[in-house]
Amino acid sequence: MTVFILRRLMQSFVVLFIMSLLVFVGVYAIGDPVEIFISPEADQIERERAIAALGLDKPLWAQYVYFLQGALSGDLGRSFRFSIPALELIMQRLPATLELTVAAMILSLAIGLPAGIYAGFRPESRLSKVIMAGSIFGFSLPSFWVGLMLILVFAVELGWLPSTGRGEVGTILGVTTSFATVSGIQHLILPALNLSFFNMALITRLTRAGVRENMLMDYVKYARAKGLGMRRVMFVHVFKNILIPIVTVVGIQMGQVLAFAVVTEQIFAWPGMGKLIIDSISNLDRPVIVAYLLVVVIMFIVINLVVDVLYSVLDPRVRLQDMKG
């Protein structure tokens, strides 16, 4: 187990190294680093000082070493707009995004799993057909459009829920979160619902396919032959088997949701790092962009690692040592 995790960590560092190289090439070689890292409002003296400080007068490989040194010590440059270190800015916004992501994931599981189990168990029933038709919409409707409709219906027409910003936050177990206050939860509902829509459809379809496939397996018939009730067959035997692909997908989707939070945050003016990156792109606040990319890559790597470990816990047939990783 430890060996496996260590090996995966090593691989992760390789991926991270490659990503840093790509980001570096993108920013330093393709783009103009002077333009990227030095505020357009800076005067000539500041500009030259900054060029020297960033080592831009040195050869490319030396620049990369500089960049890497900075990155390793957490220094990814300062935001032009906010004049604070880019990394610090990202970290300030991270909790709001994480909260939104987790809420969306929980929501999509809480609705997608039961819907998928039902649709897989009774594929011919009318409700199943409605569920499946709904899931097609969940797949094909662009997320920003769904967000607009949610605002139009629940905020503008019905006036039930707020449509912009994050509500009051409180602390639960030392974590600052929207879940602690009523206003926080109210503000969270629409964005989370919006962000969960695609995954809800995905989980519904995946669960349904898994249930249908597993229901045909011999072990299901055998479990019934033992006199088990349908409930136990479904929720213990079948469920434990479909859980494996679902956990994998949830893990992979975690990253997707994190990325798509960009859209949701923009629509609902949610103060997370997704909104920050869009604002930064519009304002050419490039140090923030670079910091964002590296942080997201690291999060991706961590998520993939967690999924692999979970996978091996759930499926007794998979031994971590045997995995090629």
């Binding site: 011999d218 018939k221 055998y222 019934r224 032959a225 088990l228 434990k240």
Partner: protein
């Protein structure tokens, strides 16, 4: 005279498919007494497995029991409410499936899969259920049962898995066990061990047994009675000695001829010409007539069930009387 443990009369199990009514079982009758073993013999597709599932009440749509009666300990099973049928399954009637690789749930411990079969029928303590599971494993000859309970199915060999399945069948001391080709997937030596042990257990406990197989040699060494099926119909029935020594149906004759034997070394094996017709395109009359050397105009009529000798049943207009060479 006491009633047999199970008596099946004129059972019809049909599948309503898109392309027509598929009569998988069409008029099968037999009975099994306490402590006796019935061999249900036929090629794949002859309806023998469907017969087994019909008794268990595990025929899934589009299949249904279209007619006939299944009496178990004097109680009619056809049309029994689901919950009552469930209560019988695994407790009074147990089933062992063909492929032990597929029937045990890969993600649940053997212990879970054993004790749940007890909890489904009785209120006992966890410790009591575990003790019974351990005893059952010991009974079927699994070494160090205590440890093996904690294992997952993939940690067992095929033969051991089938023993686990047999142990599960024995857990609730059933009155009837239906074994659906349980040794087909196993090595010959292991097959022999399992046959021996099953026979012993049935004699000891007085459990009635239906052994479904395509292998006449297995039936010859195990069963008391034999029922030969062809294309969904019973074609010949009687005691093992009578049927194997003096077969009357030409299909049985062909089956016996196609078993390699030491006494006929060097001689070509007798083959039954042709293949079993699709159940959707059965010829009218005797369904074997297209492959039968003795078929004539009379065979275009459905042969009625006759009783040519005490304890024997037959469906053929031209019974063979010759002993096979």
């Amino acid at each position: 005279m006491t009633e047999p443990t199970l008596s099946v009369t004129d059972l019809r199990t049909w599948f309503d498919t898109r392309v027509g009514m598929l009569k998988a079982v069409d008029g099968v009758s037999f009975a099994v007494d306490k402590g006796r073993i019935l061999g249900l013999v036929g090629e794949s597709g002859s309806g023998k497995s469907v017969t087994g599932f019909s008794i268990m009440g595990l025929v899934d749509p589009p299949g249904r029991i279209a007619g006939g009666s299944i009496r178990f300990n004097g109680r009619e099973l056809v049309g029994l409410p689901d919950e009552e049928m469930r209560a019988l399954r695994g407790s009074r009637i147990a089933m062992i499936f063909q492929d032990p690789m597929m029937t045990l749930n890969p993600v649940l411990r053997v212990e879970t899969q054993m004790t749940e079969a007890i909890f489904a029928h009785e209120k006992v303590t966890e410790a009591e259920a575990k003790r019974r599971a351990r005893d059952a494993l010991g009974q079927v000859g699994i070494p160090s049962p205590e440890e093996r309970l904690k294992a997952y199915p993939h940690q067992f060999s095929g033969g051991m898995r089938q023993r686990v399945a047999i142990a599960i069948a024995l857990l609730n001391k059933p009155d009837l066990i239906i074994a659906d080709e349980p040794t087909t997937a196993l090595d010959v030596t292991i097959q022999g061990q399992i046959l021996y042990e099953v026979q012993k257990l049935c004699r000891q406990t007085g459990t009635a047994l239906i052994w479904i197989t395509h292998d006449l040699s297995v039936v010859a060494s195990l069963a008391d009675e034999i029922c030969v099926m062809y294309a969904g119909r019973m074609v010949e029935q009687g005691s093992v000695d009578d049927v194997l020594d003096r077969p009357m149906h030409h299909y049985t004759l062909g089956l016996i001829g196609s078993v390699p034997s030491r006494h006929r070394k060097g001689q070509p094996l007798v083959q039954i010409p042709g293949v079993m017709p699709s159940l959707l395109k059965l010829p009218g009359g005797c369904s074997f007539r297209l492959r039968c050397t003795r078929a004539d105009a009379a065979c275009t009529e459905e042969p009625p069930e006759t009783s040519p000798a005490p304890g024997r049943k037959l469906r053929c207009f031209h019974p063979a009387t010759a002993v096979p060479a």
